[in-house]
């Protein structure tokens, strides 16, 4: 595995009386595509701004390549940022925007010219040198913002919700563009978003955050398939989160009925959260199911139907399936043991953090 490039140690930050980050620890390896994912106000942008040098943590240190850069101003850091609303210099041409950083570094004009051409080719906008930012579409402005950042050959590119202002189609296109860029440049990307689909599509590693705490760190697959707690499960895709009791290893009770599962180590009669992904709930004939239920609503979503089923054990399941079950239809419900995700109930906020820290320590990137 490649070396740790950026390390955040014990970072706390408050704005006024609001604690935004609390004793946060995180490291990012070289050439990783890391996404900080969480709802607005979870502290993800603050982390990015601390790495970029636009905020100073109240407590804790930031290390870059083993060197403490906590107090280093942004212009002396070997990283560049792509801002949320592009922040192009509106009174300069595209070429002047891209050349801004290089001119400060006193590069020769032939070098700068070559770099501008290279960067515009890289973001698929050749020949746009003399345009003004105002005359470009949102997607084009975004590409220029990326070009402006990468000509400086940063070791790390910070991206603050760069696709937030684009429409769906363009956003999906830009996701592929970003993955391509990341592979061509071979540098570290730190990406901030609240869009779980974006995170799952592009990242090598996802850091899920909530209220200033890291909830889980892992690959997109592990975060989706094995969320550590109900928050992560709920935030990453849709989920049925159900109260249950772990009777013993590999046996969980939901609504008075026992189901086989694969989880162990929870003790006897422990209250737990059971997470079942909507696509993992199978609907079939009433006789074939582990329990039965009645369809209460069905919505066509394009690829699949989204169905609500009121089950006999008193639990409302959300189901995603390609089959059509009309409202009022009596169905059997079953879930294979692998698809029950069992997680500890958070007793208090502290405990929730503890479990997240345990997890990140054990499974760190």
């Amino acid at each position: 595995m490649s070396k740790k490039l950026i390390e955040l140690k014990n970072i706390s930050k408050s704005f006024g009386s609001t604690l935004v980050l609390d004793e946060l620890n995180l490291y990012i390896r070289e050439n990783e595509f890391v996404t900080l994912l969480g709802p607005s106000g979870c502290g993800k942008t603050t982390i990015l701004r601390i790495i970029g040098g636009f905020e100073t943590p109240d407590v804790g240190s930031v290390f870059f390549d083993g060197e403490d850069i906590t107090k280093l101003p942004p212009n002396q850091r070997q990283l560049n940022t792509v801002f949320q609303k592009y922040a192009l210099f509106s009174h300069m041409t595209v070429a002047d925007n891209i050349a801004f950083g290089l001119r400060i570094k006193k590069k020769s004009s032939s070098y700068i010219e070559e770099k501008i051409k290279y960067a515009l080719d890289l973001v698929n906008l050749p020949g746009y040198e003399n345009r003004m930012p105002d005359s470009l579409s949102g997607g084009q402005q975004q590409r220029i913002a990326i070009a402006r950042a990468i000509v400086n050959e940063p070791k790390v590119l910070l991206l603050d919700e760069p696709l937030g202002a684009l429409d769906l189609k363009l956003r999906q296109e830009m996701q592929y563009e970003l993955i391509r860029l990341k592979n061509e440049l071979g540098i570290t990307f730190i990406y901030v978003t609240h869009d779980q689909e974006e995170a799952l599509t592009m990242s090598d590693t996802i850091v899920v955050m909530n209220q200033g705490y890291i909830q889980q760190i892992g690959t997109p697959e592990s975060i989706y398939n094995e969320p550590t707690n109900a928050f992560v499960a709920d935030f990453i895709g849709e989920s049925n989160i159900i109260d249950g009791i772990m009777l013993k290893d590999r046996l969980v009770q939901i609504g008075g009925v026992s189901f086989e599962c694969v989880d162990t180590g929870f003790g006897i009669n422990e209250p737990v959260d059971v997470v079942i992904r909507p696509e993992d709930v199978e609907l079939k004939d009433p006789e074939g199911g582990m329990t039965t239920g009645t369809v209460t609503s069905i919505i066509f979503k394009g690829v699949h139907y989204e169905i609500q089923v009121e089950s006999a054990i008193g639990i409302n399941f959300m189901v995603q399936t390609t089959q059509n079950f009309p409202i009022g239809c009596h169905v059997g419900i079953s879930v294979i043991p692998d698809n029950f995700q069992i997680m500890h109930k958070p007793q208090s906020e502290d405990e929730e953090i503890m479990s997240a820290e345990d997890y990140s320590a054990g499974n760190a990137v």
Partner: protein, 261 residues
């Protein structure tokens, strides 16, 4: 159709009432006779008389020096003040803006007397005291012209410049100032016109021997109305008009820009 004609007539009448007196003044400044009722022919002699009068030329020089100097100094102070106010928290921002607006709305005579009392205590009245008075009442105009530009400016552009390697001074002059230039210029010229226009505050703070065009006209008129004063007033009107047009062009082009965006 009739409504349109009525509307245009109404606007015409309003314009007439607003500008007829000034038009009469300008017309009289070209009248060969000293009479205010009799037109005896076109002349420029009152204007030539202006340029041959030492007192008037001196007052003109003082007015110009005062206007541009006070506007320049007020622009610098106003820019710094606007930046400070902009970075304040919401509540402090409102309080500061309130205090900024007081001199703007305060009766000139109160400001004039207050400043006079203050200056008399600490320094002799003269050009420097008038200059300070003008700077004082000009600062709020500059602030009010720059603040809206700051409000609509994308502060991330400054951060982006810092991110790309600019130190804060370079990022400020290279990125923020170009965006603020229309606001700063509008503030500057607004201050120039305010300074040229002012009579009351100047009158109270000038002391003996210093005269601006407006205090000179006032002094002369008390002795009896001379046609030279019509000419002088017309010149003053024209100067202010030109600067107003410049300010409008500056802010007008900015408006078009923001619409295109």
């Amino acid at each position: 159709m009739i409504g349109k004609i009525l509307g245009k007539t109404y606007v015409g009448i309003v314009m007439l009432f607003l500008y007829a007196p000034i038009m009469v003044l300008i017309a009289l400044s070209f009248n060969a006779s000293r009479s205010r009722v009799l037109w005896t022919g076109f002349t420029l002699k009152w204007y030539t008389a202006l340029f041959h009068s030492n007192a008037i030329m001196k007052a003109f020089g003082t007015t110009m020096a005062l206007a541009f100097l006070s506007a320049a100094i007020a622009s610098v102070i106003g820019l710094l003040a606007a930046l400070a106010i902009y970075s304040m928290k919401r509540r402090d921002y409102k309080i500061m803006l309130f205090f900024t607006n007081i001199p703007l709305l305060n009766a000139d005579i109160v400001t004039g007397i207050a400043l006079m009392l203050w200056f008399v205590r600490f320094l002799p009245l003269g050009f420097s005291s008038v200059l300070m008075a003008h700077i004082t009442f000009n600062i709020p105009y500059v602030i009010l012209c720059i603040l809206p530009k700051l409000e609509t400016m994308d502060i991330r552009q400054f951060e982006a410049a810092r991110d790309l390697g600019a130190n804060s001074a370079y990022a400020f002059t290279r990125i923020m100032i170009p965006d603020l230039i229309p606001g700063i210029l509008a503030g500057f010229f607004m201050a120039v016109t305010m300074s040229m226009d002012d009579f009351v505050i100047t009158y109270f703070t000038k002391g003996a021997g210093v005269n601006t065009l407006s205090t000179l006209i006032y002094g002369e008129i008390r002795k009896g109305i001379k046609p030279e004063m019509y000419a002088l007033s017309s010149v003053l009107f024209l100067l202010v008009l030109i600067i107003l047009i410049v300010v409008n062009l500056l802010t007008g082009s900015e408006y078009k820009n923001s619409e295109r965006r």
